[in-house]
């Protein structure tokens, strides 16, 4: 038996992981998710517009994980919940139109573990019935699925949290501390990418490329690309500098 698996992992990497539950309907699931997180060594739980929280059912289902519940942060949008992250992994129970091919949870956890040394990671779970909306998915950098029985993919929310936290725990324990590479770029955070996309949108409207009355899917497409692309902070600065340089008042077609 490899004793490494029962050893406490490097605290920094466990602490840089947050679990984000968006639009959760049942408070019991929030409590059960807190318990599942704690069994795998994670403690940071963020709720986006929970229907009912706090609630005695959450406390009952948390068993001994009331410390996790006590530390919950409540946000009013997924964007707010992802602030400061360099990687947000969205869990989905089905393949989506428009989405790039999702990874399996195990492979995605491996990628998260590698990136965890560089910044904050979010594991994102949607509503019990409807999952994450397409708009929410577009805010995340990666999508992953649990390889469930195709005839019955209906995992309970806390069960999905349990599985993904388990995979991430094992992946974090297996990853040696990342070497410091001189000159390696810092990954851009969710917020920096958000501002970059706002900048693109503004520039596209100003240039007349984008009609704000009929925006279509342009911004969503840009967001998908930049969310996936692993932008570094310096690259964001370069792109934003470029965008600023394009600003020519004469090109405003729609104002």
């Amino acid at each position: 038996m490899n004793s490494k698996l029962s050893a406490p992992p490097v605290p920094e990497t466990m602490q840089c992981v947050r679990v984000v539950l968006s639009q959760t309907s049942h408070p019991g699931n929030i409590g059960a998710a807190a318990r599942a997180m704690k069994t795998m060594g994670f403690s940071r739980l963020v709720l986006v517009n929970p229907r009912t929280f706090p609630d005695p059912q959450a406390v009952a289902m948390a068993a001994g994980a009331d410390d996790v519940l006590g530390g919950v942060r409540i946000c009013h949008s997924l964007g707010e919940a992802l602030s400061g992250t360099v990687l947000a992994l969205a869990m989905t129970a089905r393949r989506r139109e428009l989405a790039t091919e999702p990874a399996w949870a195990r492979d995605a956890a491996g990628e998260c573990a590698t990136i965890a040394a560089q910044g904050e990671i979010a594991l994102v779970f949607g509503n019990e019935t409807s999952g994450l909306s397409n708009a929410e998915l577009a805010l995340c950098n990666r999508w992953a699925m649990i390889p469930a029985n195709p005839a019955y993919t209906s995992l309970n929310l806390a069960a999905a949290v349990q599985l993904v936290c388990y995979e991430l725990r094992l992946a974090l324990l297996a990853v040696p501390p990342a070497p410091t590479i001189p000159g390696a770029g810092l990954l851009a955070t969710h917020d920096q990418i958000d501002r970059l996309i706002d900048h693109f949108e503004q520039a596209a409207v100003e240039s007349g490329f984008l009609d704000p009355e009929k925006p279509g899917r342009l911004i969503l497409r840009l967001r998908r690309f930049f969310s996936r692309a692993g932008l570094e902070q310096e690259e964001v600065s370069i792109l934003r500098g470029l965008l600023s340089s394009f600003k020519t008042p004469t090109s405003k077609r729609y104002r």
Copy 2:
């Protein structure tokens, strides 16, 4: 994305797996375990002396897995529940005295997947609070642990079922169909090993080696060894033949 993971696995190997819940206290956990099993493609649930079953709470927690609940088999002993198996994997949340070193769930699932081609497999889970008794552990061939946070190992029962079924599903999907090896022996079933141990006990009492008034741990030790050893059916026959040959009425010391 490897499409193999979402493909239905070879039906025979999924169907030769039973999940055994012993002495379960809360019927809701039975329902949630049924749901967890079905999401991973397993359907055979065996209950040993459940406190309350059937029960509406079990149905409520099973969500769409009422077919699994409908097929439940209830047994009055773990031995009865293991009848016909060639490998019983006991899950335990802690290291035990006397037990051999447990495997991690992932490695144990790999072994189960390899053996599933040869016969029936049981995944065995104990009571929510106390787990499996030492006597129950001794009836199983392997022990495994989930590599949980050492500071909080308290997984919900259904969450543990979810994780172990997930690992076994992935392991079964990864294992190519076993080649047929001419002359390879059939593994002995739980029942055949049981009768072998009874035979040993009887022979040991008759020979005077074992005082039935002070049996000590001899039988438990024998059971542990033979449960672990991967006995083939022919080897059981040989051992029982040998034991029968030792029967000499003159050596009875305690009768």
